[in-house]
């Protein structure tokens, strides 16, 4: 659906050059909810704007629904943009106009016949659960309602792709959740492919199936959400994953490990999905010459499955510990030896 190859983009504000994108490639398949996460200034927003041609790459290609964007004439680009909806952090609505006016605007621009446009406005407003606010002025709405209007506006022209630019970053946690659930419905019920950028890992965790991590204008890590959350490779990814799944020994327990005089090993275990059903911990506890302490545990829902993280302190002889490790590996858990930082 979206194919970006070797995109490079440098901004020059006269004083210095800003490398927004350094050779970025990205593939978004039809039906994906693809999340790009990164700190501000990582280049996410430039990358997102390549897709509807709001930014043009200095080099590299952008293909959307099979069309090379740079090869499109200005009229064809306008037509393509009508097939791509966009939702913004600050909503970017006409505040002094009614909800209906705002949602109808893209249809008006596209020259949709009046009756058809009216019907479509009603349909999308019903979809975002704002049918009773049709005649309200945007300035009278709450942030969450405004974003629903923003989504309705983006959906009005029945796009195949929805671009979300930090769509939930200006909202409180509860509203964020309801907007994310709405985006998931857009994806599942309307079959719209979603590409979103965010700095909130919860957003990725809750609705994305694929994720890319950006840093300094590059994608440093990408893959399915399960893989990236389960085995983050880059430091920046670890930092992001840590914001939703804690894999550190709680402060209070650090001394437990430090003051232990017997032979010990601290292990970080991650289970994804079904492997959690096996009574692994109970088995470990029953092993000869081994003492098990649970220093940390964290269970999170990830899409349709569950990821559990355990931090275990194994105390015993080297042999008992390596036996335990074998048992853990046999159970299909991801295991890492942890070393206390001095």
């Amino acid at each position: 659906m979206i194919e970006i190859d070797h995109a490079v983009k440098t901004f020059d504000d006269g004083r210095r050059e800003v490398h927004a994108l350094r050779d970025v490639s990205l593939r978004v398949e039809k039906g994906d909810i693809y999340g790009i996460v990164g700190f501000s200034g990582a280049g996410k927003s430039t990358l997102l704007r390549l897709v509807n041609g709001l930014e043009k790459p200095d080099s590299g290609t952008v293909r959307v629904a099979g069309q090379d964007i740079s090869a499109l004439g200005s009229r064809e680009l306008l037509r393509l943009r009508r097939r791509i909806g966009m939702v913004f952090q600050q909503f970017n609505l006409l505040e002094r106009k009614t909800v209906r006016h705002n949602v109808a605007l893209p249809l008006l621009l596209a020259g949709t016949p009046r009756q058809e446009a009216e019907r479509r406005v009603k349909d999308v407003l019903r979809f975002v659960e704002l049918e009773d606010k049709e005649n309200a002025y945007v300035s009278q709405l709450s942030g969450g309602q405004k974003q629903r209007v923003g989504i309705a506006r983006a959906l009005a022209t029945s796009p195949e792709i929805l671009l979300c630019d930090e769509a939930t970053s200006a909202l409180d946690p509860q509203t964020t959740e309801s907007i994310l659930l709405l985006l998931r419905r857009v994806n599942r019920e309307m079959g719209v492919t979603i590409l979103l950028i965010t700095h909130q890992m919860q957003v990725i965790q809750m609705i994305c199936n694929k994720v890319a991590v950006m840093e300094h204008g590059k994608i440093v890590e990408e893959g399915s959400v399960l893989d990236v959350f389960g085995m983050p490779r880059q430091e920046v990814t670890r930092r992001f994953v840590r914001t939703v799944i804690n894999d550190r020994i709680p402060e209070k327990f650090v001394s437990v490990v430090r003051d232990e005089r017997r032979n010990q090993q601290v292990e970080l275990l991650k289970f994804i999905g079904d492997s959690v059903k096996e009574p692994l911990i109970a088995e470990l506890c029953r092993m000869q010459g081994l003492e098990v302490n649970i220093l940390g545990a964290n269970i999170q829902q990830l899409q349709d499955t569950v990821m559990s993280v355990f931090i275990l302190q194994l105390i015993g002889g080297d042999e008992a510990i390596s036996q335990a490790e074998e048992r853990i590996d046999g159970a299909g858990a991801l295991r890492e030896r942890m070393v206390l930082e001095a």
């Binding site: 306008l78 037509r79 943009r81 600050q90 970017n92 006409l94 002094r96 106009k97 008006l108 621009l109």
Partner: protein, 229 residues
């Protein structure tokens, strides 16, 4: 005694009522037409400035530089100089260089760049996010101007035009001095030159009331637009 009283009734501070009304009419005439034509030209210039500026929707250095220079040059000329400077043009367009209609030429030339600057500021206040949303929807430049830029900037444009109109009122008074008629002419020929001090005060009062009414009207309209719709 009664005749004296009637004469007094027919006149106010030494001039006849019809003369005063005529002057008022001329001022309103010059103000209205110069405002209308000047605002349209000013809006056009403002759009050129905003669309062609660096980072604008239709970035064009040459056009921006020319319009910007024109606006700056005309704005830096005092009206009384503009007035005599454009006499040849006035004669070409209107056929004479005196009278309220002839005065419209310098008035429009004077006020349109001023309006352009004021409206330019109003247009630049429109949130770049709204423009970006319009672009993302696939709006053409023309659609963005008509559906987003102007409606969003309208309350602010009305206030800007109010400010411009007050400036224009001052210019119509000067236009009166070279034969444009109007309240300004009244003040200078009948008030100042004939040492009719009370009449001078009357004209000032009239101008003050004018400005007050204009400002009140402008603020009202802008406020109503801003509130909704």
């Amino acid at each position: 005694m009664t005749g004296d009283w009637q004469a007094r009734f027919k006149e106010i501070f030494g001039i006849k009522w019809p003369k005063l009304l005529e002057s008022l009419g001329q001022t309103v005439y010059m103000l209205g037409w110069a405002l209308l034509i000047g605002a349209v030209i000013g809006l056009g210039l403002a759009l050129l400035l905003v669309l062609c500026r660096k980072g604008g929707l239709r970035q064009n250095r040459a056009v921006h530089a020319v319009v910007n220079a024109y606006v700056n040059i005309v704005r830096s000329m005092p009206f009384i100089i503009t007035l005599v400077f454009v006499f040849p043009l006035t004669r070409l367009i209107v056929g004479k260089t005196y009278g309220s209609t002839a005065m419209l030429v310098p008035l429009v030339i004077y006020i349109s760049p001023y309006m352009a600057r004021l409206i330019e500021n109003s247009l630049l206040e429109v949130s770049p996010g709204v423009i970006e949303a319009a672009l993302a929807m696939g709006a053409t430049t023309w659609q963005i101007v008509l559906r987003f830029l102007l409606p969003e900037a309208l309350p602010s444009i009305v206030l800007a035009m109010t400010t411009g109109t007050v400036g224009l009122l001052g210019a119509t008074a000067m236009a009166g001095y070279v034969g444009g008629g109007g309240v300004g002419d009244l003040a200078l020929t009948y008030g100042y030159q004939r040492y009719n001090f009370p009449l001078l005060i009357l004209t000032v009062v009239i101008l003050v009331i004018f400005v007050q009414l204009l400002q009140l009207l402008g603020s009202r309209i802008s406020g109503r637009l801003r509130r909704n719709k």
